[in-house]
């Protein structure tokens, strides 16, 4: 207890005191372990979180004491059809009394009754009587089996909560078995939960009255619907890894053999005064250099590489909206790509092989190849 900050303890105690109608000092003493807990304290533990979840917004702190509004009193009279003896006089729809019996705030009970009456087309009084009376026989077994209620699936969560809530009111002893935590550990937690939703007086609750309302019904469908055809798969290890390893070895082998056979070019030392003729860029830029001999540098040196080469290529997935990957469906895309690739390859080959001194056109078989980068490949 000592590790809880003072202000939190204080707030918790105040809320609990307000809910239970006992002095703050007494609650504080209980919480710090100086006094024996009030009997209710143990009974409240099971609904630490469930109550807050079921009815998060019920600031009507004083249970069963809300004044009935005039509109309620002018509600149509109902015939007391199946009203049980302990349901009392229902003709004037005394929501306060009914709420006291149902163990829930009058405002909630009224709303629930009215909504149900509207939905079923009956009178509020009849509905109230039904709620208070008809369900009475079903209650004892429900209250007697709290563990089963806890295990209920999502769809009945609100119901389970309600039953757990009822337990401490009806029979505190049975509820104690539901408590998951030891009393000392959850004492302060119990206090905050009480603050969220105060309880009615224990003696005012008739048996079998449901104090919950239905929040939602979750259908028994999966949230994610996976629709994939079963495909023929193999383990990455070893099937894919062995392929990759083979590729890796093959590349290394080719590279080593090539490097043993072919010497990388190293011409004479750089000389600013001796411009070689022709001067050629690396082969992957030779297509551009070739373009430069046809077009203005603004076009060949800038527009083509940046607009077509970079922006154009990056934009391909956003321009090509055809969802199909079948070659027969994307003839235009394939044609365009092939066209540009062939164009680039042609220009590059032209630049490498067919350009001689002064970057003039030459036939490689007549005048030789003017490309020092691959000198040894050519002279091999």
């Amino acid at each position: 207890m000592s590790d809880i900050p003072e202000h939190l303890l204080r707030r918790s105690a105040e809320a609990k005191a307000k809910a239970l109608g006992i002095p703050v000092e007494q609650v504080l003493a209980e919480m710090t372990g100086e006094a024996a807990p009030t009997p209710m304290d143990i009974g409240e533990q099971p609904k630490v979180e469930t109550v807050a979840a079921a009815e998060p917004a019920s600031p009507a702190a004083e249970p069963a004491s809300e004044p009935v509004t005039p509109s309620q009193e002018s509600a149509p009279m109902a015939q007391p059809t199946a009203a049980s003896a302990d349901a009392g006089a229902l003709e004037d729809i005394d929501y306060d009394a009914a709420a006291a019996k149902a163990g829930m705030p009058a405002s909630l009970l009224k709303r629930s009754v009215e909504a149900k009456a509207k939905a079923s087309g009956g009178s509020p009084a009849g509905v109230l009587a039904e709620m208070l009376g008809e369900e009475a026989p079903a209650a004892p077994p429900a209250a007697a089996t709290p563990p089963a209620a806890e295990l209920a699936p999502v769809a009945v969560v609100t119901e389970a909560v309600a039953e757990v809530v009822e337990i401490p009111i009806a029979e505190p002893a049975a509820a104690a078995s539901v408590a998951a935590e030891p009393p000392a550990a959850s004492r302060s937690g119990g206090a905050t939960a009480v603050a969220a939703r105060p309880l009615a007086q224990p003696e005012a609750v008739p048996e079998g009255v449901r104090t919950q309302r239905l929040l939602t019904v979750v259908k028994a469908n999966a949230i994610q619907q996976v629709k994939s055809e079963p495909t023929d798969k193999v383990s990455t290890w070893p099937h894919l890894m062995i392929m990759e390893f083979a590729a890796l070895l093959a590349v290394t082998a080719v590279l080593v053999v090539l490097s043993v056979i072919l010497q990388a070019p190293l011409l004479e030392s750089a000389n600013f005064n001796a411009t070689p003729n022709p001067s050629k860029a690396p082969w992957y830029f030779l297509g551009l250099q070739e373009l430069l001999s046809y077009f203005d540098p603004q076009i060949a040196g800038v527009t083509v590489p940046t607009i077509i080469g970079l922006v154009g290529f990056m934009a391909i997935p956003y321009v090509d909206r055809n969802p199909s990957t079948k070659p027969s469906d994307r003839k235009f895309a394939i044609f365009m790509f092939t066209f540009f690739m062939m164009g680039a390859a042609t220009l590059t080959i032209f630049g490498v092989l067919f350009r001689g001194p002064g970057f003039n056109f030459t036939y490689p078989w007549a005048d030789g190849i003017f490309f020092d980068d691959l000198k040894d490949w050519v002279d091999f």
Partner: protein, 257 residues
């Protein structure tokens, strides 16, 4: 007699290996399912563990489509590009030991690699041809991705990253081109950077930024050296990490699994 000694040595060696292989250190190094772990058996569970319990899980899922593994389908071009990058890094580090990026030393250092450094010639050749191969394999990788329509949703952005990687590959290759400081390097770079000078409005500034001068000079060599060995590798590794991550997240090799 001799056979007996050999038997004994073999026995001792086996028992030592057993102890080392089963030791706490070996157990801690090899994660469960490693094929090198003691007592590994070729079960479907262990096959999954090899990938799942491993850094490889960043690159590959546990299972892949059977048709995606066919050699004629995958060609492994992306993997080869990555492997060439690693090879180039290794050979490049070797070359850095023998190379000073100054106008006085650069050429003689490269020349000395071929004559007075053990395996110097081989490593330099591997670096140079490997660089050409990498440009080629990245380009082919891009072409194959296009022809398979593999850039289509959800992989649009990974295509964009791929184009950036191609550009970075070209820049890496081009910055390395100058470093031997021979006639070929000097004038190829002069031609290449002249193209950069045609950038509209601030072409001269771009060229100056690239060269550290108005023309290719001795200053350019240091600048391109730093770009080549540090800056562009740093950038390309970041983009590769994103690229590989997106390959996994966008559905792995050859379509969503």
């Amino acid at each position: 007699m001799a056979n007996g000694i050999i038997e004994k040595v073999k026995e001792r060696a086996t028992s030592i290996w057993e102890k080392v292989h089963g030791s706490e250190v070996a157990e801690s190094i090899l994660r469960p399912g490693s094929p090198f772990k003691k007592g590994y058996s070729d079960t479907p569970r262990n096959r999954s563990y090899v990938i799942m319990n491993n850094v490889l899980y960043h690159l590959h899922p546990v299972k892949v489509k059977r048709h995606g593994v066919r050699l004629s389908y995958t060609l492994c071009l992306g993997g080869i590009s990555f492997f060439l990058f690693i090879l180039l890094t290794i050979t490049g580090i070797f070359l850095m030991f023998y190379y000073a990026p100054t106008a006085e030393a650069a050429y003689s250092d490269v020349a000395a690699l071929s004559t007075s450094v053990a395996f110097g010639s081989l490593v330099r050749n591997m670096h140079r041809w490997g660089a050409h191969f990498m440009v080629l394999s990245v380009f082919l990788h891009m072409s194959r991705v296009f022809y398979h329509g593999a850039y289509k949703p959800p992989r649009e952005f990974n295509w964009v990253v791929g184009v950036i990687l191609l550009l970075l590959t070209l820049l890496l290759s081009f910055t390395g081109y100058l470093l031997p400081w021979d006639q070929l390097a000097l004038w190829a770079v002069t031609v290449g950077t002249n193209m950069a000078g045609f950038v509209p409005v601030f072409g001269d500034q771009v060229k100056f930024l690239l060269l550290g001068s108005v023309e290719v000079t001795a200053d350019t060599i240091l600048r391109w050296y730093v770009l080549h060995v540090l800056f562009f590798p740093f950038i390309i590794v970041i983009f590769m990490a994103v690229h590989f991550w997106r390959v996994r997240k966008d559905g792995g090799i050859s379509g969503p699994l």
